[in-house]
Symmetry: C2
Subunit: 452 residues, 2 copies
Amino acid sequence: MTKKFLLNESEIPARWYNIVAEMPNKPLPMLHPGTREALKPEDLYPIFAEEIARQELNQTDVWIDIPEEVRDKYRIYRPSPLVRACGLEKALDTPAHIYFKNESVSPVGSHKLNSALAQAYYCKKEGLTNITTETGAGQWGTALSFAAKVFGLELAVYMVKVSYEQKPYRRSLMQTWGAQVTASPSMSTKAGRKILTENPTYQGSLGTAISEAIELAMQTPNCKYTLGSVLNHVSLHQTVIGLEAEKQMEIAGEYPDIVIGCFGGGSNFSGIAYPFMRHSFKGGKATRYIAAEPASCPKLTRGVFQYDFGDEAGYTPLLPMFTLGHNFAPAHIHAGGLRYHGAGTIVSQLLKDKLIEATDIQQLDSFEAGVLFARTEGIIPAPESAHAIAAAINEALKAKEEGRRKTILFNLSGHGLVDMSAYDQYLSGDLSNYSLTDEEIAGNIGSLETII
Amino acid sequence: MTKKFLLNESEIPARWYNIVAEMPNKPLPMLHPGTREALKPEDLYPIFAEEIARQELNQTDVWIDIPEEVRDKYRIYRPSPLVRACGLEKALDTPAHIYFKNESVSPVGSHKLNSALAQAYYCKKEGLTNITTETGAGQWGTALSFAAKVFGLELAVYMVKVSYEQKPYRRSLMQTWGAQVTASPSMSTKAGRKILTENPTYQGSLGTAISEAIELAMQTPNCKYTLGSVLNHVSLHQTVIGLEAEKQMEIAGEYPDIVIGCFGGGSNFSGIAYPFMRHSFKGGKATRYIAAEPASCPKLTRGVFQYDFGDEAGYTPLLPMFTLGHNFAPAHIHAGGLRYHGAGTIVSQLLKDKLIEATDIQQLDSFEAGVLFARTEGIIPAPESAHAIAAAINEALKAKEEGRRKTILFNLSGHGLVDMSAYDQYLSGDLSNYSLTDEEIAGNIGSLETII
């Protein structure tokens, strides 16, 4: 029997949950890249809208009001459904109950709109006319394209070249919503030109695209930069996911033993996990929180905890993070949104404190999980989200082995309707796994400056 | 302010509305292609599941119960939202209130799942193991692929060649859900071979693909054919759209002056319009019902009312319909779902009786409307649905000119996320309009046998 759990529009959260204010150990400070001193909001004003900079460094307010203008736009697609994956459970013949939060219902097809609307709103409120950003698979770029249009801003997007080529539909989406899209690395920035000169066939990375987008923002009047993951304010905005899911699990009469999100920079994992984590602090609920990352980009499972830049060129502050090194060039897997060298500072601290876990998923396993999900639940998942599904399936099969009735909740961060070329390749047997040797990882990490 | 009107799952309709039972003039009978006698359900049993054949010819029962198994699967995505398009209204600066029923929220991206689930269920219940169908743009094929998987049937799809090439993602979708997909015309059937031999570069049509799918079904044991539009039982299943919309308009506190659907074979237009029409019979509500068809395939606005075949090869019964002739080869517009030579018998009778209207929309106007809708409401519409949007915009602008506060309701039959190559071409200025001369139309219709 199909089971979905809905909320009324009045139950769209009115406040975001700021986990930093309640963490047992707060993250180490971000450092100014020049002075190496702890970052102050003012240091971020040249790059980010001021309200966003303040949210980024807010360590005291547990709850932050969602502006009414943003909440109104959330009503286009929120509250999103919580669904019990009865078809998947049956196919796995597991005693586990599997739930997923369906963020794919947003008009842009993913959770990214939750932060895009907030960021575009704050930029507009500050009087900006232009914004820039980067995008990997294109989920963030599409979300911001629509959000920019909603609030009347012009947007320039640097799209990682491998995705620009693999996912032409996502580029078209951004253009249909009115954004300017450039493949990165490009000749339009110093950062891009440098990389193209050194390595003309480089297929790009999120780190490089971020460098280009920041550079353009710094050189454009009345323009600032926005980021779709990694940073604290992005995780903050995404907590609407978990806050809704919490109410919906209550309606379902269950509480999750395990909460799972796929992991690139952390935005959707944070969004589903943090609101539940507040019940786990100080010896509360014994829920496990699992970040599912690709085996080809294993910063949480095999990276090092160290200060590193958020971008390839070193324009960003130094962040205390689990990282593979900011010049790590990930394999060209189809889950482009997960091809990022580092994890956000909050997630990194939580992992260091063993409050969350991480698992790595091979590309073929993610697509196998994605196809099974499509055939049992109807929704074609984004290749990124398929990592969360694969992790959920692993846990459901463990529960079956152990004969235990676990309750598993994962975040379906987006659909894969614009990623069908990847499914095509998978079904034709043309995809491979990518693994890194210990030497490759050590070699790359070895180039990092030791600050901690 | 964003306004969406939701229903609870308990409000998913329990019965479909069978308009034939209440029409002032019933459609003329369908004729057996051999005997030319009025069709009996038994005549359809070799092609269609028996329950479907009975529904097709049921002229007496006003309401038909929806099987609980189908209703349960409807819960995956139903009830779909009704949305007031406040952003679009504002952009048009119109006094009209514009509402749309958002059928794009189904996991397959369109309304087609409403009938696919029903048809797959009846086929399974009859003990069939295999089914066949055709698909134009791929909306019906994707829907049936998932529905077949849900009920455990093997599905073979003939996909119109021009769409097979223009819309590779839709092919991938069907394959991901587990269907076999063949471009039509193909060498796998007599009907396909004949056309390919006469015209090796023919890009296919729905009429040809139907011939191939019927032929395969007739030659495969334990296999029947299914159709996604045109026929009465398909319209019947689609009435869940209008029945929900009626309740939602009530919540919104309005009643539509105008109801609009795009028009290919009639499935989504019927679905939104028929439940409202029952209040218009016998001097009831004075609502206008507008079918928006492409100017390149204008059977309602420029076709003739005559008996004609539903397919190119002449395998189907003779249907009394507005038609351009069953061998009409429509231009390769991107709204592949609207490239069909004829209209269903019910719609044709309603048009003949002036109970509904038709309007034709040029391809470029449909994309202009689609882009405006995407930028104001967030959803990228399917090229088919963009015809309904264009018609709604025309009516909203008329209302503005007349200074009248009209209430307009249209059906957003699906999203266009898998049609982005079409938007790409539109935004690059690479698309054209297609119009037919009176001579072209007369020439094609002239070849029809005169039965009425």
